[in-house]
Symmetry: C2
């Protein structure tokens, strides 16, 4: 059911994975197909750390910290509900790991302002967010903080979309500069773990599914909300009568069936029938609704159980963060020693 | 002997002072007259924290951390040698206080890149350092880090020269924004404690005394080095014969006598005599040499004692830093609580 390409690594090599989310909303089907499923798989093969990046969430929510704070446990519950196992995957909270902020202070001296401004990912995001001339310093510099997150755990594999590749280049530049100054290989370069799954479109087919658009199917959406979202999906506007031949490309219902239906052979048959004419949009939408309701029902149920015990969620996050701090602090100590700054 | 104006504060008010130095070299007579003497006085009246700002030192020495590392204990020894008392003044090391880096992460979201670029102090420094287009991100953002340093200790008075006033404005902007978002007065605004002592010129009279110019009289300079520096001092180029009237303004020897001679009445007499004619530069230079040698001899001796016991210097810095971390972490915790981010 997963469509991810896992980087070909030899069995037995100790790849370490760093991934995470900004807790600025609940996770949705876009995350499920884009990253969560992959993480559930990866945790069996690799040492995986998932960072709930609340400080990064603040970089464009500096004036509304509650938006970030409120979603931290939501995101942890989402992780657990889809099957991420805190015994296999370390789940930790960025703001609870002081060594990450400290590492970022050192790295900030190795990156020029011009280099940050040239970073294509940051450039696009700045344009998209409409900051105008009011770009928060924390936003411009978040690639430095992200480099701290990645290197603190000596991550070698970072799951990203191709739009995020410049972030990893930036990280590896810092790695090389710092190692050169330190005169030893303290930090480890990372490689991208590219997804070959295209971004899940929103039901209207126009943009990617996004929390801010209000068009998401969440991991706890109920059957009615799922049915409503599927009903609103963009299909083929020229497919006016059932008997007309329909177009599958750009038809959001089929994009979702490709992404979520457990039986690709059956989806292929449906496509053939749709293209030949004689398959109603109402029928394909019903099939998708059934499929998504079946997928989400157990996740929603699990999620409710986890959300009913927030103390447990906090305990998981606390334990993960303490381990993470220990590991990150060891890297920081190595850097301080190499720089001659570890006096006590 | 001090020429500093201590802000008029009511006796009994709990003013807190934050001050410090970038440890990029030994301290010299410019520091002595510009800040060290003042600190020795202030420690009897106020709660004073002196931060050895090694991380700030790295913002323009990112590629040569040893320059910073090597000078940390030098600076602490300088402090102790002039009479700063670690029982009265808390001396701490910036890199040993993780909460400072964490606070800076939060503050960075409340300051725009444009605002940092407009900061006159930073603008002048960037021009002076010849970074060209290669301004390290850590350098552009150091006012944010400095705001963290000041606010972490709830400092209300910050001794500065007037060129540093924009830094305090920047800090107070952050204070107001953060308090507004938090909905409570967590951070405290600071006031400048302006020195009315003009900057001590270098012996050549052309610029301020500066470590990088190689024209400093250090707090451990020996008698010969002092005599040599005084001998090289710029006087009145038109004062060719002893009997000629001389000019006191711009005459570095008199500037130093004003700054360091314990008897202002005697210096006034010398000036009169010099202006009338009949006082040789050799004589004024000898008087200044004697004065500076007398001033520095006990400091140099004390400094040697402290430098001979580096373990003690480290212990002082460690204790101060631990206290500072406790205090800074309390402020950080207040912010996290107000933002809803203190989950554990």
């Amino acid at each position: 059911m997963t469509h991810h390409q896992v980087a070909s690594t030899q069995a037995g090599t100790a790849e370490k994975i760093l991934t995470g989310d900004r807790p600025t909303g609940q996770l949705h089907l876009g995350h499920f197909v884009g990253s969560l499923q992959q993480r559930v798989q990866l945790q069996h093969r690799y040492e995986q750390t998932i960072l709930v990046a609340d400080l990064q969430g603040l970089t464009d929510n500096g004036h509304r910290p509650n938006k970030v704070a409120e979603n931290i446990l939501n995101v942890v519950a989402d992780y657990l509900a889809v099957g991420i196992d805190p015994l296999k995957t370390r789940i930790c909270l960025q703001s609870a790991i002081p060594a990450l902020a400290e590492l970022a202070m050192y790295y900030a001296n190795l990156v020029t302002v011009a280099r940050l401004q040239r970073n294509p990912t940051v450039k696009n995001e700045i344009a998209g967010k409409g900051f105008g001339a009011s770009i928060p310093a924390g936003f411009l510099t978040y690639p430095i903080s992200q480099a701290a997150d990645i290197t603190a755990f000596k991550a070698t594999l970072v799951p990203v979309g191709d739009d995020q590749l410049p972030m990893l280049e930036q990280t590896n530049e810092i790695v090389r500069k710092l190692n050169q100054i330190a005169g030893q290989e303290i930090l480890v370069e990372c490689k991208p773990l590219l997804s070959n799954m295209p971004r899940l479109p929103a039901p209207d087919g126009k943009q990617k599914m996004s929390k801010s658009m209000g068009n998401c199917i969440y991991l706890d959406s109920d059957d009615r909300a799922i049915a409503r979202a599927v009903k609103s999906m963009y299909t083929d506007p020229n497919h006016l009568r059932v008997d007309d031949p329909g177009c599958v490309a750009g038809n959001v219902v089929f994009t979702y069936l490709d992404a979520f239906h457990p039986d690709p052979g059956y989806v292929a048959e449906l496509k053939q029938q749709y293209e030949a004419g004689g398959l109603a949009d109402g029928t394909t939408k019903q099939i998708l609704t059934d499929c998504l309701q079946t997928l989400i029902a157990p996740i929603r149920a699990q999620r409710a159980v986890y959300m009913a015990d927030k103390a447990q969620l906090v305990a998981i996050l606390k334990q993960g963060s303490e381990q993470a701090q220990e590991e990150a602090d060891a890297v920081l100590t190595q850097i301080k020693r190499a720089f001659g700054l570890k006096l006590f």
